[in-house]
Structure formats: C-alpha cells, structure tokens
Symmetry: C2
Subunit: 214 residues, 2 copies
C-alpha cells in the first residue's frame, strides 16, 4: 500500500502552557507515536511535514519538521499547512486547558492553597474539518481512561474524522512507552482492535488504513 | 581547592506534579546546572550522589544517581541521604505547588473554565537545615524575576543556608541555556557577581566556594 505522491501532515508530542515565567502545564506525551507515523508515511512514499511539540526525538530522514510550544502555536501551524496536505494525522497531545492568566513574574511560594484558573484551548480538529477539501483524509487520536470506545466514537463523529486511533494507556501502552495498544475506529465499521505492538508497527498499520482511504 | 574525602549530595532537574493520569505541572529546569555541579564536585575529588528529576542528560562518570518524579519523592530521597553527606547542593527546581486533588481519570475537555486548586509542596531545605550536623554545608538556589537580591538574601536567612546561588533568568541565563549568570551570596559577605559563564564554569566556581567552607 503506497502513499506515493501524497502529502501527509503529522503532528506529534505535547504542548506546554505557561503558568508563569518558569512553570507550565504539560502532559506525558513523548512524541514517539507521531514520529513513528511520520517515518512510516515517508517509507510509504509520501512527502511528510511534521509539526512537533517539545520532545527529545530526532526527526526522521527526509521529513520536514517545524517546532511549536503552545496549543495556540500548534493550531496556527496546522491551519497554515492544512491546505497543502492530502492527509492529516493529529498525533500530538495538545494541552486542553491553559492558565487564564500567564503571570509575568514568578508566583511566590506561600503557605496557602492557590487557585489556578484554566480555560479550554482551541479545539484544532473541530475548526479544521469544516474547511477541508473533498478527499482530504483526517485522522485523530483519542486517549481515554474510561468509557473508551464510546468516547472515541463520539469524538470521531463530532470532529468529522475519517479515523480515530483509540489509545488506552497501560503498562505497555500510552505516552512514554515503546509499544502501544490501540484500536482503529472508522465511521460505520467495526473497530479494528490491534494487539500490543511496537509503535513503529502500530504506525505502519495506521498508514496502511490511511492509504486505503484515498 | 579539593573536595577529596568529602561526600557531596546534589539534586538536579525539575519535578512533576500530576493533575490527572496524563497531565502534570512542571517547570523549564533542564538539569544542566545540577549535572554540571555533580561533575565539578567529582572532579574536585568528592564522592558524589546525584538525585535527579526527569531530564534527558547523562549521569557524569563516577557519580551515583537516583531518580525521582515528584517533590514529595525528592524530599524523601534528600532526607534519606542527608545524614550521609558532608555537603548538600540543592540545584533541583522542585514544583512549589501541586494539585490538591490528583484526578484518577482524565479531566474531559469542556467549554467552561476550570479551577485547579493547588497546595504548596513541602519546603525541603527548611526541614533539613534544622537537623543538620555541625560542619555540614548546605547550598541552595534561588531563581528570582523581581527584587532578586533581596528575595535571595531572605531565603538564605530563613533556610539557614551557607550559600545561595542567585539565578536571574535571561536570554543567556536560566533553565534551558548552556550558560548562566549568577551571584554567589553568603551570610555577612558581599555578593560575588559572576559574569555570564558556561554552566560547567559556574559549577567550578560554586564548588571552589564550597570547598572553602569546610
């Protein structure tokens, strides 16, 4: 199954939202799944652009990459590149919430509890899928700890995705592991439940499914 | 100046405090300053134990290391090892606040603002300096964005430290830089204001000062 001639946009890694000049909110995303997808798409013949949050990984050979830190920067980068691509895989784990006030000076340690007001960040996929061209394939990820399949199917529907990769975190699966346990969920189809596989192999299976959609 | 025969305990890197199974609060500490201090202490002849938060750095040769994630784990590890050491350098940047409730399940994205209740974490140095032996040297760090020297001197006094390394973050100084701009502040002495130097050189200057205190 080939992606020759296709342009694939992949996002990877976490985002960080500043609480003050030194502190931030982030998540345990390592970027491994997204980097593996960029590599697999490239190996399948696609032209690949990777938009990556802060990770310690090396960009795969032949892949163009750009770096972002916050969810707002990720949204801007994806929106700019979306028109270019034939397929988008949103493997990044953007922060869903950010501090309402980004303190200019470091918050002092005190003895009292502190209330941190958070506001939801932009829902990147929701905005994008409205303006996509016919034939553009969009794949999302869902990390769910409860009511996993039900929540993932709702996300698939609400965001108008072509496929959602459901990730149920565990000892051998999730953010900072070499392996992953995922289900591939497409509208009006039975979910494909994959066994625990190395993230490189999970990436190949996702790219295979994606290639069938063009 | 030699630290031969001395046992030096160094802490390095950030800590992480869980908001829920996937999200956490952390800070931009890279661990570079602490690792450079462990290396410099070792080169000065000391036996060195490094307690490190999550970083991407390699432990210097000849240095014993143990890993922690949260501020509570850091406090436990330092308290356990404190009796062993002749000198402690607290270069770690522990989170000062942690979520009051560690949510067992992932917080769902919503459209509403969210209030996150934070509580202060344990003040590690404050607890330790009370129970130290005579002659045990304790060095702390202060990262200050306003009223820097005044805040650092207060910290020095309140925590009963022998020296505080004041770090004023800037483009060539702070958490994720190769260089650092610091002042070395000791009780009843004029501050030693160092120029911008590579963190390895800053580490050697700190170790030199420390060696004079034994």
């Amino acid at each position: 199954m080939s992606l020759a001639g296709k342009r694939i946009l992949v996002t990877a890694g976490p985002t960080r939202e500043a609480i003050d000049p030194v502190r931030y909110i982030s998540n345990h995303s390592s970027g491994k799944m997204g980097y593996a997808l960029a590599r697999a798409a490239r190996e399948a013949g696609a032209e690949v652009h990777l938009i990556t949050g802060p990770t310690t990984l090396t960009v795969p050979g032949g892949v163009k990459a750009s770096s972002i830190t916050t969810t707002a920067e990720l949204a801007r980068a994806v929106t700019e590149c979306f028109g270019w691509c034939d397929g988008l895989i949103m493997a990044a784990a953007p922060a869903d919430f950010r501090p309402l006030h980004d303190a200019r000076t470091k918050i002092k340690r005190g003895t009292d509890a502190l209330g941190l007001e958070l506001e939801p960040t932009q829902d990147i996929l929701k905005g994008l899928t409205k303006e996509r061209r016919q034939g553009q394939v969009v794949v999302g990820f869902a990390l769910e700890t409860d009511n996993a399949e039900k929540n993932a199917r709702r996300k698939l529907r609400e965001k108008g995705l072509d496929m959602i990769v459901l990730n149920v975190p565990g000892e051998d699966s999730g953010f900072d592991t070499e392996t992953n346990r995922v289900s591939l969920i497409r509208p009006r189809r039975k979910s494909v439940v994959l066994p625990v596989l190395h993230k490189d192999e999970v990436a190949r299976r996702i790219i295979e499914q994606m290639a069938q959609m063009f």
